[in-house]
Amino acid sequence: MIRFERASVTYSGGVSALRDLELEIQDGEFVVVVGLSGAGKSTLVRAINGLVSLTAGRLMVNDRDVGSLSAAGLRALRAEIGMIFQGFNLVNRTTVLNNVLMGRLHQVPTWRTLVGAYPHDDVEIAMQALERVEIVEKAFVRASNLSGGQRQRVGIARALAQQPRVILADEPVASLDPPTSHVVMRYLQQINRELGITTIVNLHFLDLATAYADRIIGLRAGELVYDGTAADADASVFESIYGRSLTADDTMAKQAAL
């Protein structure tokens, strides 16, 4: 379970990215966070694995207080949380398999990483993760030789290889075209349903959010302005989240038609 208690993040320079957030996410939920860019979506997910620290309040993740963890405690927490990035964050100059093995580092001794001798079991877990996103045939191909959609599937496999309890995805489809975006979202949904991994996804397209989310969280200027089911989130709800009337830019289908 993830629980934000009056959580705030103020960046140096005075920008307030999260304000007094009260939020509870149960195990196994598929949550989509929507909001304009700068609304605090990225800060919210990065707080969960401690990439961003709260400046006030408390954040409990899997019964741990994120703010009070030691370096080793933080690594142990991050081992349980897979992360997927907008820009994929793959190492382009190495193989797909090596990229996915990054998800096993928390289990692998440092000397084994330094000489590149990964235990057989960890390689097997990485291969299974690649099979789940149906890209195992590329295991020994350089990441730089993949298309955008393939790279993001490798990104998902890397997160899966951690055998995580939570997956965070920060704008996972913002660099992809609409058909590829749906492929990636379907993999995330499937992983959530079949493996029961809590999944939190940042999106800025409303149609994608309503199509895949069980629960939608709306952020506006760092404050929670909506928390409800995807079915209840109609145009007026989104207008309140965006603080303006909706345009074609806000849905992927319409934007693609432009």
Binding site: N89, R93, T113
Partner: protein, 270 residues
């Protein structure tokens, strides 16, 4: 018709005076260095014209190089010793230089005092010229190959660390964030997220250091640190310039082979 504000082309922002001032300063410095004044070095181009046409043993030797010298057993033995010294010095230096380069960056050594110590150490190593390393180790461990290997070891650390650290400034930080988010320990992150990004450049710097080290062997031989330099010193002292140029052909061959190998390796790695 009034043009909407959004369509007005912006005016080019005024150029920074920095580039202009830097160029002027460089030109002024050059002129100052040439000037014949109180603190000048009193050089002139005149001797280039008057002296160069003079009959000259060095040029004579260059025109009639002793090709056979490159094949003499003693020369061959000395040149092989030079290559061994260069291989051992460069390999050792390269192994130490990679972590030193990583630890001299902000992301490689987040602990400030550690980074400062590493940087100070590499700066000190770099400040010492190769001939001083050679003199130092000749004094410490005697003549022949060992002082040469030690001198080139430190010289390689200096060259490779500096060049690699500069390359590290331009890497993609995304994979580093991904490794941190996956719960990787610090050196696992460096190994898997950073090293693959700089590997081709690092390898070509190592080969460049090897090339420089082969040439440095001339200097090493002068002070008794082994290799072909002793032969070159012997022949030039006896004004056997034909033999000197014959040996230089060997250097040409080695530099050429390294260059081809480096190009091939980089193509495989990139």
């Amino acid at each position: 018709m009034t043009v909407p504000a959004a369509l007005v082309r912006p005016r080019r922002p005024p150029r920074s005076a920095f580039a202009l001032i830097a160029c002027a300063a460089a030109a002024a410095l050059t002129l100052l260095a040439m000037w014949d004044w109180k603190y000048g070095i009193g050089f002139s181009f005149r001797s280039l014209v008057t002296e160069i046409t003079r009959k000259n043993a060095v040029i004579e030797g260059l025109l009639h190089p002793n090709w056979g010298q490159a094949l003499r057993p003693r020369t061959r033995q000395a040149f092989i010793e030079t290559l061994y010294i260069a291989v051992l010095g460069t390999t050792g230096g390269a192994v130490v230089a990679l972590p030193l380069a990583l630890w001299s960056t902000r992301f490689g050594a987040p602990i400030t005092w550690f980074r400062v110590v590493v940087r100070a150490l590499t700066n000190v190593i770099r400040a010492v010229p190769d001939i001083l390393w050679a003199l130092l180790f000749v004094a410490l461990v005697g003549i022949k190959a060992l002082p040469g290997i030690l001198a080139l070891f430190f010289f390689s650390i200096a060259v490779i660390t500096k060049l690699t650290a500069d390359t590290l400034d331009g890497i993609d930080m995304g994979p580093l964030e991904a490794a941190d988010a996956a719960g990787a320990r610090h050196h696992q992150m460096l190994r898997l997220a950073v090293v693959p990004q700089i590997l081709p450049t690092y390898v070509s710097f190592v080969l460049y250091a090897f090339e420089v080290n082969v040439r440095s062997s001339v200097v090493l031989g002068l002070v008794g640190a082994g290799g072909i330099g002793e032969r070159l010193d012997f022949f030039s002292a006896n004004l056997r310039w034909d033999a000197v140029w014959g040996i230089v052909v060997l250097f040409f061959a080695v530099v050429f082979v390294i260059e081809r190998f480096s190009t091939w390796l980089r193509r495989r790695l990139v």
